[in-house]
Structure formats: C-alpha cells, structure tokens
C-alpha cells in the first residue's frame, strides 16, 4: 500500500497530522502563486489514503513544484507540514521509478549528477569549478569575470581554493571523501543514484537521445502547462 510506504518516512509521520483544509499553507506558498500547485489539496489527498490518487500524485508534475521553503510549517493550525509531506512523496516517487512520468520529475537525473557528484568528488554541494557561467547567465558580467579569473579572484578575497588545511573552499582530503562515499553506500544514496541512472538511461534510449541530449532537454525544457 502506497500510504503505508509513505508512513515509513519520518518526514511523513511528522508532516501529516490531520488537515482541515483551511488553506493557511497555500495562502503564503511561493509555489502556489506561480505553479498549478496547492499544498492544501496535496495534504488532503494523502490523508484520504486513496491509493489511486496517491499514485497519480507520485507520477505527477505537482509534487515537484514545492521550493522547500517550509513557510507552511510556521502557519498550519494543525501542525501539519506540507513541505515535509512533499519530501516523502518525492522520495517514494523516486523509489518506485514514477518520477520518470513527469517532466519535472525527470529533472532528478541532472540534480543527482550535479549535487551527488559535487559531494562525492569534492565534499561540497556547490563547487566553483563545476559551476559554469554558461548555465548561470544570471550571474552577469561579474559572474563571467569571476569564472574567467577564478583562482585569482578567490585568492584576492582570502579563499584557500583547493589548498591544504582548513579554510574557504579548501581541498577536502581524500580520506574524508572516502568516508562520504561509504556513507552513501550504507544509507541508500548510492543505490538511489544508480536507480535514477538506470531508469533515466532507459528513457533516453526510448527517445533515441544521447545521454548529453537527454540531460540538456530535461535541464532546459519547460512546458507552459505548469503555470496558472
């Protein structure tokens, strides 16, 4: 039962108390204003325990709209946490491979590669040598200048970029990275990454796209159907 699977997630246990459909969460939700998104309805749907509806959610675009600001938690008069429920839904959607059925869900491949790659290779979630101006033009001319002069700029402001010892953006020793890898292995992150890879590669193959083309597509394509 999908509901029971969700209940195994501590975030779901914490996040779902009992919803009275008052809309306090939706009223201040940053996603609700731009996307076809209503955290109240999601909370009400999961508390209905309707298996078909929950499966629809797990395969939907909807669960990927939340920005995880957790503003809903502050306000709910019943101590629910729609933002936590979303985490449990996204987790299960990936576990079951349903993420592949939605445009927004498919994006997990690029997120996984970028973030888990940075963590395992460098020990950071964001790392300057893998952060490319071409993917982030909002950084403007200053961003371009920083990228073009990365080492010198960081040296100028006191970073220890890729240096030994402590400090800003220091090189994290290999022994520590090895520990992170073992943590990934024993806690299910490695398995998760492999699952996303396998399912995504199958999809790319079906579409006749190369890995690069597929990634480019999920990173950039945004259909209008998401908006109000």
């Amino acid at each position: 039962m999908l509901y029971d699977r969700l209940m195994e997630d501590y975030r779901f246990k914490e996040g779902l108390n009992a919803c009275i459909n008052c809309g306090t969460c939706t009223a201040i939700c940053p996603a609700a204003e731009f996307y076809k998104y209503d955290p109240r309805i999601i909370t009400d749907t999961v508390q209905s325990k309707d298996e078909d509806e929950i499966e629809k959610l797990l395969r939907s675009e909807t669960i990927w709209y939340c920005g995880q600001c957790m503003s809903c938690i502050t306000r709910c008069p019943r101590k629910n946490g729609p933002g936590l429920i979303i985490q449990a839904l996204r987790n299960l959607s990936q576990e079951l491979g349903y993420f592949i059925d939605s445009e927004k869900g498919r994006q997990q491949l690029v997120l996984n590669r970028a973030l888990c790659g940075n963590i395992l290779n460098y020990g950071y979630c964001v790392y300057p040598r893998t952060f490319h101006y071409s993917d982030h033009p909002e950084n403007g001319p200053v961003g371009k200048w920083i990228e073009d002069n990365l080492d010198a700029v960081h040296k100028r402001v006191g970073s220890n970029l890729d240096g030994e010892g402590p400090g800003i953006l220091r090189k994290i020793p290999q022994s520590d990275l090895d520990e992170l890898k073992r943590i990934f292995d024993v806690t299910g992150a490695t398995e998760r990454m492999e699952k996303i890879e396998t399912i995504s590669k199958k999809r790319a193959k079906e579409l006749g796209l190369s890995d690069e083309e597929y990634c480019r597509q999920i990173f950039t394509i945004n259909s209008e159907e998401h908006y109000i």
Partner: protein
C-alpha cells in the same frame, strides 16, 4: 447548615443564579474580582442574533438582585469544608460561612497578540472583535475612520493546535456575521469580507442573520483561514489567504481587520480550581462530573458550576445553566436539611 450560597463571579451566570436562589429562599452572596458586575456583557454593545442591546439584557439581570450582597474587587483566597459548611476567606480579610459554592468564573478572550502573524498590537489597522464592540458602544478605544474595506478573521485563537487552543469558541462565527452587518450599516459604502474555515451557525435565527448578511449587506464570505497580515506603504493592512473553494491564493488590502478572538480559560479558573480542588480539562476549562446530564455538578460535594467556566457558551445557554445550578443547589441543600 446555613442558607447562604457563595457565588464566585458576577457575570450573567452569577447574576441569574443569584436571582433564582433568592426566589428559592436562599441568601446568595456574590464575589466579583472586577469593580463592576456583568462580566464581558457589560462591555458589549449588541447581542446576536437580533441585535438586542447588551445594556438592556444586563439591566434585566441586575435589577432583580440589586439587594443581594456583593463583594466587588474581591477574590476567594481559601475555602475549608467544616461539616456541612464552607469557611471561605476572601481578599480584604472578609470571611463567609456558606453551605454551597457556585463557580461562575467565566472566561477570558484570547490575547490576539499571541497569534503573531496577525500583527495585533503591531499593525495599526488590526483590531479585535472586543475592540470593535467597545467602539460600537462608546466610540472609544480604536480609531475607525470611514473604512472602505473591512475584513473579519474567524477562529483567532480557536481551533488552533499551534497556539494550544484546540476548542471551537462557538460564538465567534455568529458574532463576526453580526459585526460585519453592523459595519455595513454604519458605513454603507464599505466592502466587508469574512474569512472563515467553517461557519458554525448552530443557533435559532443565526442562519437568518447569515442570509441577511449576504442578501441585504452583501458581506463576502471567503472560505480560507488568513495566513499572514502585513502593512503596506500607505498603511493599509494586507492579508494573505487561500480562497479554498476556488483553490486560489488571495492577497487583499484592507483599511481595517477585525480578529474574532475566541473564548479561553483564564487565570481565575486556574486559581479557583486550585483552591477548590476542581478538575480542569486539557483546554483549561473545568470538567463537570458528567458533561451530558450534570453540567452543573463539579463532582465535589457542595460545589456547583454554571456558565462559561465549563467551556464557551452563548448567553441564553449560560442563563439556562445558571437556573439549573440554582435548582441543583436547592435540591442539595434540601436533602442535607432533611438528613
């Protein structure tokens, strides 16, 4: 045995019970912590559902008991059971020997500033339902100057686990509808919005008032709990809510926002239940021995209950309970006398 009964609290319950006990031949004594009788009723302007004057109602309750002894500005400090009687020590050094005690300690209104996101005491345009009622009655307290848009927020401090008040305060829904109509009467050009979760129009003629609010006064009812209040550059109050019936987040600018603060248990209930060893429920109100057939019974011999001390109630309900308690006291004292 004596024929004296101590009534703790001089609000509607205490006044009506005193009247009935007088009629039954007992000698009630009222102890009131404030300097006037009437409780919250004395501060109110008009009553739902038909706009009856609170002053007239209060007069009807006070007039029959004008010769009943009253201790104002007084609280009970100690009560010891001595045989069939209680020796009650009052503040100010007074003492009373009575054979029964009736607890009518009432309620408090939820302190709206505790619901921080509504900005009461911070944003100028945010007031409470009792501020508005005081303004209706006296024109004093808050500054209301021909508002063009007015909002009412239901369930402020009620039905809210976050601020630890789970109970429904019952009377606020219909009070909001009443006050919304009154605002429209006073300011015919104004637009009025009620933000509610459920409209609990349980009493006779309440639904009529709701219908009138919609048909005659064009009050707009929006099903959604207000999530956040702020103030814009011009000093208007900005509220965010979801219109849950159309699943749309809303942002509305208002000149005045009225918070419908709920009825909650208060310190007086805490103190008196400590002194008399009464049971309090999770919500802070006193737990009667049987909440269906014996609302008046505290479970402690010789001690009785009436009114909002056992939870939110309307005035007619409170008055009925006061009469029931008076009768229960009469039965108790008659039985004791026979023994």
């Amino acid at each position: 045995m004596t024929d004296r009964v101590l009534i703790i609290g001089g609000g509607p319950a205490g006044l009506e019970a005193a009247n009935q006990l007088n009629l039954l031949g007992y000698k009630p004594v009222i102890v009131e912590k404030d300097d006037t009788l009437g409780g919250h009723l004395a501060k109110w302007d008009r009553l739902f559902p038909e706009g009856e004057s609170a002053e007239t109602v209060l007069y009807k309750l006070i007039k029959p008991v004008e010769h009943t002894p009253v201790y104002l500005n007084t609280i009970v400090e100690k009560a010891d059971k001595e045989g069939n009687n209680f020796r009650v020590k009052l503040s100010g050094g007074k003492e009373e020997i009575v054979s029964a005690i009736l607890v009518c300690a009432g309620f408090s209104l939820f302190p709206a500033e505790k619901k921080e996101e509504y900005g009461y005491g911070i944003y100028n345009g945010v007031i409470t339902s009792s501020d508005l009622e005081k303004w209706f009655k006296t024109g004093k307290g808050v500054n209301i100057n021909n508002p063009s848009k007015v909002g009412f927020v239901h369930c402020v401090g009620s039905r809210d686990e976050k601020i630890c008040n789970r109970q429904c305060s019952k009377v606020c829904c219909v009070t909001a509808v009443k006050q919304a109509c009154e605002i429209r009467e006073k300011f015919p050009d104004s637009e009025v919005f009620c933000f509610y979760m459920d409209l609990r129009m349980f009493g006779r003629k309440y639904e009529d008032l709701y219908l009138k609010a919609q048909n005659k006064y064009r009050v707009r009812f929006i099903r959604g709990r207000v999530s956040e209040v702020s103030e814009d550059f011009t000093g208007k109050v900005v509220i965010k809510a979801e219109d849950t019936l159309s699943s749309k987040p809303l942002k509305v600018s208002l000149d005045l926002l009225v918070l419908m603060t709920g009825m909650i248990s208060n310190n007086s209930i805490g103190e008196i239940s400590g002194i008399l060893s009464l049971n309090r429920a999770e919500d802070g109100f006193i737990e009667p021995s049987d909440s269906i057939t014996k609302m008046y019974d505290s479970g402690k011999e010789g001690i009785f209950l009436a009114g909002a001390v056992t939870g939110p109630k309307t005035i007619p309900e409170t008055l009925s309970e006061a009469r029931a308690s008076a009768l229960a006291i009469h039965n108790y004292l008659s039985n004791k006398a026979l023994q």
